[in-house]
Symmetry: none
Amino acid sequence: MTLSLAQARAIIDAALAKARADGAQPLAVVVLDAGAHPVAFAREDGASLFRFDIAKAKASGALGMGADTRVLAARAASNPVFFQSIAAATGQMAFSPGGVLIHDAAGMLIGAVGISGDTGECDEACAIAGIAAAGLFHGDRK
Amino acid sequence: MTLSLAQARAIIDAALAKARADGAQPLAVVVLDAGAHPVAFAREDGASLFRFDIAKAKASGALGMGADTRVLAARAASNPVFFQSIAAATGQMAFSPGGVLIHDAAGMLIGAVGISGDTGECDEACAIAGIAAAGLFHGDRK
Amino acid sequence: MTLSLAQARAIIDAALAKARADGAQPLAVVVLDAGAHPVAFAREDGASLFRFDIAKAKASGALGMGADTRVLAARAASNPVFFQSIAAATGQMAFSPGGVLIHDAAGMLIGAVGISGDTGECDEACAIAGIAAAGLFHGDRK
Amino acid sequence: MTLSLAQARAIIDAALAKARADGAQPLAVVVLDAGAHPVAFAREDGASLFRFDIAKAKASGALGMGADTRVLAARAASNPVFFQSIAAATGQMAFSPGGVLIHDAAGMLIGAVGISGDTGECDEACAIAGIAAAGLFHGDRK
């Protein structure tokens, strides 16, 4: 299955709905396909300028390393020099929760969500809510 | 006025509605704020991988030079070496119609739309339709 | 279908076999997946230093724009400023024959081959031979 | 001696043979020449997207600093700010074992292997096995 624009928008809408219900800070949400290319993006009013770049770096970091950024952030905490060096080498990684892999019902990796704007925990919770609302499955499934 | 996410999405939705009505190739549509930072983006199913980059380079090129890319493309045709040099220097310009400045009712520049996927003329027509549908004004107004 | 390493190597081996049979200059051959990430690469002895970069830019240019670089090169010849600007914006395009899209039997785009080292015509002929030898289909099929 | 494509492929094949025998995670293996330019590369099915970039950054980091990345990672742990600054300055270093210098029988430096996909220890063990299988000598020899 290829991630469709309709699915990507469903993920974004549900993630932002949760953010508003929870009173989160203004968020930016990007959905990338399995090759780490953008499918859809939205930045809420009031979110700061680099939120696109950070959200995208979370999502592409997850895809690039094959794990949610929650997992990568934990690994990075115990091996900071290596993770900082690959962040510099790729220019496409942000190590904080909120980059979440998306799988289809068959377990195939079809993309990733990246969210930035509130705490990593909040960002990630909104990402997971968005994926579930679109009828897809987040990183833990694989 | 600051360009809102709601306005950016209205632009994208109307641009894509026109694209579908006109039978255009699959498009990518990005809306940037006045500082050239992404507010919203959508890439239709079947659009190729670099459509985000090209759409963004159209919109940021328009903002960076203060003119729609239709105008910039014409200037570039008569002065190619200079325009190629600034494309290389910035890495954020694409000289083909489809990068269109957005003004509010007071004539203030509030952002730009960039569209890529079909001919420059088609891309630009969809951008202008999107801006008008959102109750905003395209580059010609200024 | 996802392009496998075995398929990528079969493409490279057959492309290089044709190059040797035809007395081509030393070639570099890269195979990218559908997201433009490298799967396999080989640079023949005597090929110059930037052949990887050029071969990769052909393959990623084809994927990024959704057409073989033979087609893109022809378009670029009639619209050089635009194509040079998007080459600068993406940093991942080389406009000469030798970047060829790969489709599976169902017509799905699964990657691209990029070859550099001889003339564009020779590079492309080797790419097409490689794809065919792997039981896959080149860009013309879609 | 210049590193040949045949030698590079022998290194990759033996490294991957060891990886499969040991049940390693899917790996990416790159071989660079003495000027840090790619000679050959393979990414196993299931390896994540950035494995090429990381493997290449290990190999180019080793060549760039004149030591295997095991040595560089140890130095970086005791002087992180400097090593992070050079990682950022070059964009071509990854400080984890798995980047291994290649010497010929005369002790001349002829290239480097970079492997990414499993632990640094596993990656490095596969690199060393590959170099030995090709009749060449790894970093410790110098």
